[in-house]
Homo-oligomer: 305 residues x 2
């Protein structure tokens, strides 16, 4: 029996959003044109999370929009330049919609906007706040060691330099489906253990860094025919895991995490270590923390946020 | 008299896109959901450039979309997770539309997808290739001097430090409408003339750089109540004009030009000059050139691309 909200059962396919009540905007992204909403169906006591995202244009749909069937309203006009609002007919306006229902507290937290803060970490802040945090948390790197020891993801390796000091492995990042090179995202994973972050690098590591730069570019050219001058090659600070790795992304792709507040060009890292072997020990470095990060709590306790 | 394309004159406001023929897709951005098209109205021999961009969600519009008036099609369903296509009614689907008509060759080139290359510029490359280019092209900075001399955009200034050496002006960037602080984009324009790029900076400029960092953050807090630890503060290399200026953007906003291949955190610039006054004279720096840039041609002639 179909209920008033158009569903027959909690976890069934819904027929419409008739009677849906939005209770909260969890998050939104004005650049990607997406919004995350919390709400309930009619009188239900159960929460639903709805994600709406506008879809990219295809050539065909764009052509069908530039016809008489669209409503056009002028906004501004000056000589040869005009801006308008265009309202295409209903069937051309697909939104990608994801529904999680019933949604748990964890789902709601996951899709909620969390506060972010830019930390300006001096060398002393690193010693007093960040390093004790890294040492107190025992982050498991087993999954990384499994890759390096060829216990997992062996079929994903596209290049390998087995040298114990300078060697590394190259593989496509999980975020990349390898279909188009325009959004190429490849990872380089160093063999050597114990380099947690940029802060641990000195001039001793220059041969390894240069090796990754040169051979990483060559491996990507070999496999995907993308030349080195189309690649943004960088290291994160802070990284998402504490085993040294390098990101290779296509310069036409605005990859997540490629912003200047987090990404450090590998050529800059090499340049800086050549200028001063202790560059990353003595420098002030910036990074963004989110309020649900434990490191954020440490900086808050230290009165730095 | 209204023509067949719905316009009375070439440069008039158009009433509809009836009869418009798309001849080419110039560019598209699947992340921002925008597309740039070349086309003609009916039998016109004149080109038009049309830019379509999907609009961000507002809470009100999203609520109106999650009602019975939208058509809903199920795509995938698994337990509590479901994906759908949602087609809201016509009047909820505003597209931001910009028309340039008649469009010149320059307009078409400007909005076309061009090849981009990452240049790794050594200090010698700068001296041998980039600097001669900067000196041979006489880039007009009159519009900047008009602002600094208060001949234009006076009403847009939100803060001013009049000191001749360390002073600067702060104003919202043209790309920001000042409606939401989530996509805050503010510019700091130094008073002192003659600093073309990062390459011209030495330790002599440290007081000016620190002044812009501290007072720029204070001015933004004062005017927009956005604290300094929510700001990404950076300098472009290469800049789009050769008078020293600083970008202030909200860390939640993935601002165009904030990628690591172009943006240099102001705190890093200060840090580097404190380590070595000649840091920007001797370092290897990366930047992206597009094939229609004259500087790209210079690097190609030098065999660097």
């Amino acid at each position: 029996v179909e209920g008033t909200n158009g569903t027959t059962d909690d976890t069934d396919v819904i027929k419409s959003f008739g009677g849906f009540q939005v209770t909260k905007v969890l998050n939104e992204d004005s650049q990607r044109k997406s919004i995350f909403l919390l709400g309930r169906f009619g009188d239900s006591k159960k929460d639903a999370v709805v994600m709406l995202e506008k879809t990219p244009f295809s050539e065909d749909v764009a052509k069908d929009m530039l016809t008489k069937t669209s409503i056009l309203k002028n906004v501004m006009h000056n000589d040869i330049y005009g801006t308008y609002q265009l309202f295409p007919k209903q069937e051309l306006n697909a939104l990608k919609t994801t529904l999680i229902y019933p949604a748990t507290e964890k789902h709601i937290a996951k899709y909620s906007c969390t506060q972010a803060f830019l930390i300006t970490e001096t060398a002393d802040d690193y010693t007093d706040i960040t390093l004790p945090y890294l040492e107190s948390e025992r982050f498991s790197l087993d999954w990384v060691y499994n890759i390096l020891d060829k216990k997992s993801e062996v079929e994903r390796i596209i290049y390998e330099d087995p040298d114990a000091e300078q060697g590394f492995m190259v593989m496509p990042d999980m975020k990349w489906n390898e279909k188009l090179t325009e959004d190429l995202y490849v990872m380089g994973l160093v063999r050597k253990r114990g380099i947690r972050t940029l802060r641990d690098l000195t001039a001793v590591h220059l041969p390894m860094l240069k090796n990754m730069l040169v051979k990483g570019k060559a491996a990507i050219w070999e496999r995907y025919q993308v030349p080195g001058n189309k690649l943004r090659i960088y290291v994160h600070y802070m990284p998402s895991y504490y085993h040294f790795h390098v990101h290779f992304t296509h310069i036409n792709y605005n990859a997540p995490g490629s912003g200047t507040e987090r990404a450090h060009m590998l050529t800059d890292v090499i340049n800086n270590l050549e200028i001063d072997s202790s560059y990353y020990r003595r420098s002030t470095l910036s990074f963004v923390v989110r309020e649900n990060d434990k490191l954020c709590a440490r900086f808050q306790e230290a009165g730095q946020i």
